[in-house]
C-alpha cells in the first residue's frame, strides 16, 4: 500500500499536472504489486490510467475549460429532456416509452409552426414556443384521458406495450404529415451570434440560451414541487393515491395535469433543441435511452437527482470522449452500473 501511494503520487504529480516537460508516461507501467488507494491491484487499471494521464497532459487549460463548458451544457440539455420523464415515470409510475416521441413532436413543431406563426401573428420565436407548449399541454391532456389513465393499475409490461405502440403511431403520423427528410431550424436572429472562445473557436450564443432555459426550468420545477400546494398534493398522490382521494382531492384531474406538464416539458425540450440538433425521423429514440439512464441514476421520482445525474452523465460522456475514446460508447452505462451497485435506488430516492 505504501509503495503504491508513492508510485501514484510521484507519477500523478509528474504527469497529470499538464507539465509539458514531463516525459511521456506511456509504456512505464506501475511496479509489480502496486495498488491504487482504493485497494485494487493496479495491474488492470494501470495501462488505462496511463492513457488517461497521457491525454490529460496534452490538454491545455483553455481547452480543459471549454470541455467543462461542453460537459455542463450537454448535461443541462439532458436534464431538460429527462425531467419530463422523471415526472411521468417517477411520480406517476408509468413507464412511458413514448417520451422520446414527445421530444420529436416538439422538434417538428419548431420546424412546422414557425412559418404558420409568422403568417398569422407576425412571427416571433417566443410566440412559437408558447403556442407549441399550449398545444403540447392539450395533447398531453387528451392522451392521458384516452390512454394513460387506464394504465396506472396495470402491470409494467402492459404500459411498455402500449407506449411502444404509441411510438409507432407517432412515427407513422410524422411520416405522413411531414415526410422523412432532414430539416434544419434556424435560431432567432438575436440568438444567432457566437462568442469567441480561445483563438480558434467560437461558442454559439444559442447553446448558452439552451442552458439558461434548462436552469430556469430546473428552478421552476423545484419551486413548484417543494413550495406550492399543488406540488404537495402531487407528492402525496405518488405515495398513497387512495388516501389523497379520501381527503377530497380530485386525483384524476391532478394526474392529468402532471402528465400534461410532462409532455409539455418534453415538447419544449424538442423545440428548444431543434436548432442545434436539426429535425429528422426517429430522433426521439436515441434520446429516450439516455433519459431512462438519467432517471435511474438520479433515483426514480427525484428532480434533484435527475439534475445531478444529467450533469454527471454530461461530464462522463464529454471527458470519456476526450480521454478514453475507445470506450466512449459504454462509459455512461458503466457509470450507471457503478452507481446502482453503490446505491441500488439511485442517488436520491424520492420519499
Amino acid at each position: 500500500m505504501w509503495r503504491s501511494r508513492v508510485w501514484l503520487t510521484r507519477h500523478a504529480a509528474a504527469r497529470c499536472e499538464c507539465d509539458p516537460h514531463a516525459p511521456p508516461l506511456r509504456g512505464s507501467l506501475p511496479p509489480k504489486g502496486a495498488k491504487f488507494p482504493w485497494g485494487g491491484p493496479a495491474g488492470i487499471f494501470g495501462p488505462c490510467a496511463v492513457v488517461f494521464c497521457d491525454q490529460l497532459q496534452t490538454m491545455n487549460l483553455i481547452t480543459f475549460l471549454i470541455q467543462c463548458l461542453n460537459a455542463l451544457q450537454y448535461g443541462l440539455l439532458l436534464f431538460l429532456v429527462a425531467s419530463g420523464l422523471t415526472l411521468i415515470f417517477g411520480i406517476m409510475g408509468v413507464i412511458n416509452l413514448a417520451h422520446g416521441s414527445f421530444y420529436m413532436i416538439g422538434a417538428y413543431m419548431a420546424f412546422g409552426l414557425a412559418p404558420l406563426v409568422a403568417g398569422t401573428l407576425g412571427g416571433g420565436f417566443f410566440a412559437t414556443l408558447l403556442i407549441g407548449v399550449v398545444l403540447a399541454v392539450l395533447l398531453g391532456y387528451v392522451l392521458e384521458w384516452a390512454f394513460f389513465s387506464f394504465l396506472y393499475e396495470r402491470e409494467h409490461l402492459q404500459q411498455v406495450l402500449m407506449t411502444y405502440g404509441l411510438i409507432l403511431v407517432f412515427e407513422e403520423c410524422r411520416s405522413l404529415l411531414v415526410g422523412d427528410d432532414v430539416h434544419g431550424v434556424t435560431p432567432p436572429d438575436f440568438l444567432a451570434g457566437s462568442l469567441p472562445l480561445g483563438d480558434m473557436m467560437t461558442y454559439p450564443v444559442y447553446r448558452l440560451f439552451i442552458s439558461g432555459v434548462c436552469l430556469a426550468l430546473a428552478l421552476a420545477m423545484y419551486f413548484v414541487f417543494s413550495r406550492t400546494r399543488l406540488g404537495m398534493m402531487i407528492r402525496a398522490g405518488s405515495t398513497n393515491r387512495e388516501m389523497v382521494q379520501s381527503l377530497g382531492i380530485d386525483i384524476k384531474f391532478l394526474y392529468r395535469v402532471v402528465f400534461a406538464a410532462g409532455v409539455a416539458i418534453a415538447v419544449l425540450a424538442g423545440m428548444v433543441a431543434a436548432p442545434v440538433s436539426s429535425v429528422y425521423p426517429g430522433m426521439g429514440n436515441s434520446v429516450l435511452i439516455v433519459c431512462f439512464v438519467v432517471v435511474v441514476i438520479g433515483g426514480i421520482g427525484s428532480i434533484r437527482g435527475a439534475l445531478l445525474a444529467s450533469l454527471l452523465i454530461g461530464l462522463v460522456d464529454t471527458f470519456g470522449k476526450v480521454l478514453l475514446p475507445q470506450a466512449a460508447g459504454v462509459l455512461v452505462y458503466v457509470l450507471m452500473a457503478l452507481i446502482l451497485l453503490w446505491k441500488p435506488d439511485g442517488l436520491f430516492k424520492a420519499g
Binding site: T63, Y74, E171, D181, P196, Y206, D317, P325
Partner: protein, 387 residues
C-alpha cells in the same frame, strides 16, 4: 355424385395451384432491404425511387420478366441484419437482394448472400470487404467502396497544400475505411494525419471533439458522416467558428441530400464523389428530368445508385434470358458491360465494384457543383479478394 364433386374440386385445386406456380415463375422476386426509418431513411427511399424509375422506364419489366417487390426496413441496425435478410431469403424466397445503406448491414447481407448463393446488388453500403475479402461471383455493387471517395479527397487535400490533417468520424466500418482511404492518399502526397477522432455510431454530440480539433489546429479536417448526422456535423462545425479557420473536406455524403437543411453552413465546402449536381451531360439531364417529374423531388447520388442497381440487374437478366440461377453467365455479362449511368459510364471491376471517375465538387447555392474530375477511373484495390 359426391365423388364426382370431390374430383371436380381436386381438379380445380390442381389447376389453380399450377396457375399460381406459373405466376410465381414469371414474376422475378426482388427483395429490397433498405432503411425506411432512422438517420438513413431518406437514403433508403431515394434508392428505391431510383430503382423503380429504371424499371418503369423499361415498361415495368426487366428482360421480359415482371417484378414483384418484397420490402424489409433494416433500420440501419447491424444486429438485426442477419434476421432481416433471412426473412427475404428464407420466407419470401427472393431471387435477388437489393440493399443496403449502412455498411454493417450490407456486410451481413453479403454474408448471407454468399452462404445461400443468392444474387445481391449493393446500392450503397461501401464496406471495403464486400468487394474485398468477401467478394463472390454473385455479389455486386452499384455504388462505391468507402476507400474510394476518401482516397480521392486525400489526393485533393495534399495538392491544395495541406500538411497536417485531423480526421473525425463514427467508429464503424464505413468511417474507418473512409478515413483509411484519405490517409493513404494524403500521406502519399506528403501530408500527415496528426489525430484520428472517433465517436460511437450514431452519437451526435460533436461539440467535445470540435474542441479537440480547435486545440490541435491542423491545416485541414477530413470527416465522414451521412444523413441527419452530416447535417448536424456541418452546422456544428460552422457554429463553432472552425469553418473560417480550417477547411473541412469529406466524401460527398456530407453534403448530399442534406443541403436544404444545412443552409449557409455548407456553402463553399469541397467534397469528392462519383456524382455531382451539375454534370450537364445528356444522360444525366434526362435522368434528372424524369426523376423530378415522377417523384417531385431532385435526385441525389443515392437515387443514381438505386437506378444503376436496376440497370445492372437488367444487363445480367438479359444475358441469362431472365434466369437468375445462371450465376456465372450473369457475372460474365456484367464484367464486360459498360454501364450507362447518369454519373457517367462505368465498368465493373473483377471484384465487382465500380471503376469510376471521382469528381471534386463545391457547394454553391445549395448545389454540389462539379469543379473538376479529381481522379479518373479510380478502382478500389480490392485487397483480400480471391476471385
Amino acid at each position: 355424385m359426391k365423388t364426382f364433386q370431390k374430383t371436380l374440386i381436386a381438379a380445380a385445386a390442381v389447376v389453380l395451384s399450377t396457375a399460381a406456380m406459373a405466376q410465381t415463375q414469371v414474376k422475378l422476386k426482388v427483395g429490397l432491404m433498405l432503411p425506411y426509418t432512422g438517420t438513413y431513411a431518406a437514403l433508403g427511399n431515394a434508392i428505391e425511387n431510383g430503382f423503380r424509375l429504371y424499371v418503369a422506364e423499361q415498361g415495368g419489366k426487366l428482360a421480359g420478366r415482371e417484378l414483384e417487390f418484397f420490402k424489409v426496413d433494416d433500420e440501419s441496425a447491424p444486429p438485426k441484419a442477419t434476421d432481416n435478410v433471412n426473412k427475404l431469403v428464407k420466407r419470401d424466397q427472393v431471387d435477388v437482394l437489393i440493399g443496403s445503406v449502412h455498411s454493417g448491414v450490407a456486410m451481413a447481407m453479403a454474408k448471407v448472400a454468399k452462404d445461400t448463393n443468392t444474387l445481391l446488388i449493393v446500392p450503397n453500403g461501401g464496406a471495403d470487404a464486400i468487394t474485398g475479402p468477401m467478394c463472390a461471383p454473385n455479389i455486386f455493387r452499384s455504388s462505391f467502396s468507402n476507400w474510394q471517395p476518401g482516397f480521392a479527397m486525400g489526393e485533393v487535400a495534399a495538392k491544395k497544400g495541406a500538411k497536417t490533417a485531423v480526421t473525425i468520424t463514427w467508429k464503424y466500418a464505413a468511417g474507418d475505411e473512409s478515413v483509411g482511404g484519405f490517409k493513404e492518399a494524403f500521406e502519399k502526397g506528403g501530408g500527415k494525419v496528426v489525430k484520428q477522432l472517433t465517436l460511437p455510431f450514431p452519437n451526435e454530440e460533436f461539440q467535445v471533439l470540435l474542441t479537440e480539433i480547435a486545440a490541435a489546429k491542423p491545416d485541414a479536417v477530413y470527416t465522414f458522416f451521412a444523413g441527419a448526422s452530416a447535417v448536424k456535423f456541418v452546422k456544428d462545425y460552422a457554429a463553432a467558428g472552425l469553418k473560417k479557420n480550417i477547411p473541412l473536406y469529406g466524401p460527398g455524403f456530407i453534403t448530399d441530400g442534406t443541403l436544404e437543411a444545412q443552409g449557409e453552413s455548407a456553402e463553399g465546402l469541397f467534397t469528392t464523389l462519383h456524382y455531382a449536381d451539375s454534370l450537364n451531360t445528356k444522360r444525366d439531364n434526362e435522368f434528372r428530368l424524369s426523376y423530378a417529374k415522377t417523384y417531385k423531388l431532385q435526385p441525389d447520388v443515392y437515387a443514381v445508385q438505386g437506378y444503376d442497381a436496376a440497370q445492372m440487374l437488367a444487363i445480367g437478366l438479359k444475358a441469362t434470358n431472365g434466369d437468375v440461377s445462371k450465376k456465372a453467365e450473369f457475372a460474365a455479362a456484367l464484367e464486360k458491360a459498360k454501364i450507362d449511368s447518369p454519373r457517367g459510364p462505368f465498368m465493373i471491376s473483377k471484384a465487382h465494384n465500380p471503376v469510376q471517375d471521382f469528381y471534386l465538387r463545391q457547394v454553391s447555392n445549395k448545389e454540389n457543383k462539379m469543379v473538376n474530375v479529381a481522379v479518373k477511373g479510380l478502382a478500389d484495390p480490392a485487397r483480400g479478394c480471391k476471385m
